[in-house]
């Protein structure tokens, strides 16, 4: 074996060739001699010998042999290389096994870093790095009507028709609205999430059904046949993947719908991820609410059209009405439209949060790597003797670097394997923690690309953590190394600066989570305008032919409310058409008689609530002036309306609004009289100061939207007992009136408050976890460096003690070193944090990016932790016995 290695080292490619040439020449000579001996003429003998060698000429024969010889040599070199690698890896494993503590800490730290990064990468990938799951997804856009105050408003069917007919930018366009039918049949009733879509919806997304047919124009006629498309999930769950479902009827909301198709298994409706059923929109333009802005519009751009081109083209159309497309007076469309890529639309809300989380995990990974580099450097210092020995035996610098890199690569690989396990758990935790609005949550998982990400990360980490120690180890002079000298200052400086880096990065993370924590505290200190304690809410739906007319629906709600009020433990109960902080708010234009606003001025949009008499008392929304709603406000009485406080002040500065009149929705509806002013309520979110609201008695509620009477109402109950225990009694009270009506979204009001801050809380939890890890790693880094330096300086400390230095002096000596490093890190970290906090600025609420209190608190925490990390090695140093120390070397 050894001989072969030596020979290989001596043999280059030209050597190989020369060898073969010599052998061939000698072979030919022998053959020629033999032929001559058997009586052939010398010239003929030579030719014959070459012929027998298989070549037309000597060169051809030679070339052939050379080729196979070179190839053999290549094989051999490869095998030698592999062999050497195997040896390196085996040696590295032995080295790692020799220091099990260090290996365990290193592997664990890196696995945490790699695992956390992979988990976060998996979670943010579908939103940040992947196109939507549609063919040519970049061509799918969302179309909004433009408006003064709001970036985008939903479109009306009229403007959809006009932009579709007149526009030239799209291959297909579609509008949709949400639809929640209740499916009845042999199994128990189930409420489905779905959409009513115009015929081209799936062509816009570019995904045809897997089974059956797509919607056609003929399905979209007013009063056309009722048809439904099923999701793959619903088809499997409720119809046992029955292929014969196509063409069969199913019952939705008491009506018969024919199933026309089933969408593919991997189809994701990003506009409504929970969608299980789609039906045709069959929009009736003759209804009075036809110009209401309540449809979402999507389009697929032609191949050569950019979103901005389509935007301009549709703007031009909007500005130039033509007689062929008459518009309602209040149509929003004339202000123009905005065309936004669907990808941006879907992900815009969560991008800042996800970017912040991604940044945070990158910091954690860096800190983890720095920590492990420090460990390896400390070990490198101990192994200097070994390297010097190997150098002395003739191992080149490259050889030792390679050996160290192999060691770190092996360490990283072990961590990578463990990291993937960590990532699995991490992803599960992230999904459990994720805010409800996180788009494409179904696409989150540890998949191939996550594996590749982890693999790439592992190699980078392996190289990164190996390089510094390797360079460090080989820089030192072998002569000095052999003397087992322990004063390695070059590596000391490197390790000190790495600790400074660690402290700085940890501070950045700590500041981030500190700012988020303060934001959340501020947010929950915001007065929502109502008393959320011991309030329980649920949504009561009405469905089915029994309740097909308005008065039957009203009667059901009245009966249900009455029954609920009689449940023991219920203090007050009320129904409302919408709940504050519960999701998508319902806003309508409001027109005041006193100060008429142009039909297109939608500055006066307000949240409109249809409520029963006890709503304000149940929610404990205070009355400021006038009266509350009460039994007087019956269906046939003049319509009464309440206004929120600051809205009233703005619209009626200095005068009482009581007795003034307004209209809600279209400007030709009935006038309503303001009878009272009530306190402001945070409607959409605690963080949004939008409080303009009107409250209308539900009996008088003329819904400006289709349907006339609300088919779903939210029940709010204030209880004397623990609200959760009342839920079964409340449900059975409602079902005692009609047992076929579904009850959904049972929640406590406090839960809704919590949920409205879910995104911030998610980022906060992730930041807190990461900051904690970072803090611990930084502390470990400080501890490691100091304790290494105490070990190295045992002799010096011993001398100092012998010369009369007190215990306190020694303590101070070590702690000062640690604190100098910490403070350097703090200074750099503060600068970094000020810059980095820009990334989370959209997530902050009520707190400045440079918030002195947060910074001071974080620095204080870091200094205390660093102090503890310094104390342990310092007290060890102080206990050094000079007699032992002086003998140590």
């Amino acid at each position: 074996m050894l001989r072969r290695i030596f020979r290989r080292l001596l043999r280059t490619s030209s050597h190989v060739h020369a060898d073969v040439d010599d052998e061939l020449a000698s072979f030919l000579d022998s053959r020629t001699d033999a032929l001559i001996a058997s009586g052939m003429a010398p010239a003929d003998a030579r030719a014959e010998a070459i012929r027998r060698l298989g070549g037309a000429s000597l060169t051809a024969a030679r070339q052939q042999l050379h080729q196979s010889a070179t190839q053999r040599e290549k094989h051999m070199r490869l095998r030698e290389g592999l062999h050497q690698l195997r040896q390196d890896v085996r040696f590295a494993l032995r080295q790692l096994a020799k220091a099990p503590g260090l290996t365990a800490v290193g592997v664990f730290t890196l696995a945490l870093g790699i695992g956390a990064s992979t988990a976060i990468f998996s979670a943010v990938k579908p939103v940040l790095f992947e196109p939507l799951p549609y063919p040519a997804a970049d061509r799918v856009v969302m179309v909004w009507d433009e408006n003064i105050n709001f970036a985008g408003r939903e479109v009306s069917y009229g403007s959809f028709l006009e932009s579709t007919e007149r526009g030239r930018s799209f291959v297909a366009t579609a509008v949709m609205r949400s639809w929640q039918p209740t499916m009845t049949g042999p199994a128990e009733p189930e409420r489905l999430d779905g959409q009513m879509v115009s015929a081209s919806y799936f062509r816009v997304l570019g995904v045809p059904p897997a089974l059956g047919r797509d919607f056609e124009a003929i399905d979209d006629r007013v009063n056309g046949p009722q048809v439904v498309m099923l999701s793959h999930g619903l088809w499997q769950r409720r119809f046992a993947a029955d292929l014969s479902i196509i063409g069969r009827p199913i019952t939705l909301d008491g009506d018969s719908y024919t199933v026309i198709g089933v969408m593919p298994r991997d189809f994701e409706d990003v506009l409504l991820p929970a969608a299980d059923a789609w039906t045709s929109l069959q929009y009736d333009m003759t209804l009075p609410q036809a110009w209401g802005s309540h449809l979402r519009m999507v389009g697929r751009l032609k191949a050569d059209v950019r979103a901005v081109d389509a935007d301009n083209a549709l703007d031009a159309i909007a500005r130039n009405p033509i007689a062929e497309f008459p518009r309602a007076k209040w149509a929003l469309q004339r202000k123009g439209v905005s065309v936004v890529p669907l990808q941006d639309e879907i992900t815009r809300g969560v991008k800042p949060a996800l970017r912040a989380v991604l940044g945070a995990v990158a910091l954690v990974l860096i800190i983890a790597c720095v920590n492990v580099v420090n460990l390896l450097l400390a070990r490198g210092a101990q192994r200097r003797g070994e390297f010097a020995m190997r150098t002395a035996f003739g191992a080149g610098r490259g050889r030792i670097v390679r050996q160290l890199l192999t060691e770190s690569a092996v360490l990283a690989t072990l961590s990578g394997v463990l990291g993937i396990v960590v990532a699995r758990f991490g992803v599960a935790a992230l999904i459990a923690l994720s805010p409800p609005g996180l788009p494409r949550i179904h696409a989150i998982g540890v998949d191939t690309s996550a594996f590749l990400f982890a693999l790439g990360l592992t190699s980078l980490v392996g190289l990164g953590i190996g390089l510094i120690p390797a360079v460090q180890a080989t820089r030192s002079d072998p002569q000095r190394g052999l003397q087992q000298s322990s004063r390695g200052t070059a590596s000391g400086i490197t390790r000190n600066s790495l600790v400074v880096v660690e402290v700085a990065l940890a501070l950045v993370l700590l500041v981030g989570s500190g700012l988020l924590l303060r934001s959340l505290q501020r947010l929950f200190r915001v007065d929502a305008g109502f008393d959320a304690g011991s309030l329980i809410t649920m949504q009561v739906q009405t469905a089915g032919p029994k309740l097909s007319n308005a008065s039957a629906t009203l009667q059901f709600f009245a009966g249900a409310l009455d029954a609920v009020q009689r449940v023991p433990g219920v203090q007050t109960a009320a129904l409302t058409s919408q709940l504050p902080l519960s999701g998508k708010p319902d806003r309508y234009p409001v027109h005041f008689e006193s100060a008429p606003t142009p039909a297109t001025d939608f500055e006066s949009m307000a949240f409109a609530y249809g409520v029963t008499a006890d709503y304000l008392t149940t929610m404990r929304i205070p009355l400021r002036s006038g009266r509350r709603l009460d039994a007087r406000d019956r269906r046939d009485a003049p319509i009464a309306v309440l206004l929120s406080e600051s809205y009233a002040k703005r619209r009626f500065p200095g005068v009482s609004p009581i007795g003034q009149r307004l209209r809600v929705g279209s400007n030709d509806g009935p006038w309503m009289t303001i009878v009272g002013v009530v306190g402001d309520v945070r409607q959409a979110s605690l963080a949004l100061d939008q409080t303009d609201a009107v409250y209308i008695p539900s009996e008088q509620w003329r819904n400006a939207r289709s349907g006339g009477t609300a088919r779903a109402m939210s029940l709010v109950v204030r209880s004397t007992a623990d609200p959760a225990t009342l839920v079964p009694a409340i449900k059975s009270a409602i079902w005692s009136v009609d047992r076929d009506q579904p009850i959904m979204r049972v929640a406590t009001m406090e839960g809704l408050l919590e949920a409205s801050a879910a995104e911030r809380r998610f980022v906060l939890v992730v930041f807190e976890a990461f900051a904690l890890v970072a803090l611990m790693l930084a502390a470990a880094g400080i501890y490691g460096v100091l304790s290494g330096s105490v070990t190295e300086r045992t002799r010096e400390i011993g001398i100092r003690t012998a010369l009369g230095a007190s215990r306190a002096t020694i303590l101070a000596l070590v702690i000062r070193k640690g604190m100098v490093l910490t403070m350097l890190g703090v200074v750099i970290g503060i600068a970094g944090a000020v810059a980095a906090s820009q990334a989370i600025v959209t997530l902050l609420f009520g707190v400045e990016r440079v918030d002195a209190l947060t910074y001071a608190g974080v620095v204080g925490l870091l200094v205390i932790v660093a102090g503890i990390a310094c104390w342990i090695p310092a007290s060890r140093a102080a206990r050094v016995d000079p007699t032992v120390a002086l003998r140590a070397d």
Partner: protein, 108 residues
């Protein structure tokens, strides 16, 4: 008669079991022993030698021939010897079986 696939290696090993030889000696030895019935291509022989050397079954050293030329002498390694033994058994067994089958008289 051309050689059956795979038999050249074992023939080379057998030749060398009598002592080190250079390539031409091996060729003429094989020619002589088989009375010219086994035709070994010169090129194939040299390649076989290199292949066997690389597998560690042969060793090789440069030395002087009787006619004081330089030539590469091949010799069996212990691995080569073991390989020869195993292959010889396998091949004779095979030839035996082949002979039995081929020499069975057909009925009638």
């Amino acid at each position: 008669m051309a050689l059956l696939k795979g038999t050249l290696d074992v023939l080379v090993l057998k030749t060398l079991s009598w002592g080190p030889k250079h390539a031409y000696e091996i060729a003429s030895w094989l020619d002589g022993r088989s009375d010219g019935r086994l035709t070994v291509e010169d090129a194939a022989l040299i390649q076989a030698l290199h292949r066997l050397e690389e597998r560690g079954l042969l060793g090789a050293d440069w030395a002087q021939t009787e006619k004081s030329r330089r030539a590469r002498y091949y010799r069996l390694t212990s691995a080569g010897r073991a390989h020869l033994k195993a292959e010889t058994e396998r091949l004779t067994d095979y030839v035996d079986a082949l002979t039995t089958v081929l020499t069975t008289r057909t009925a009638g």
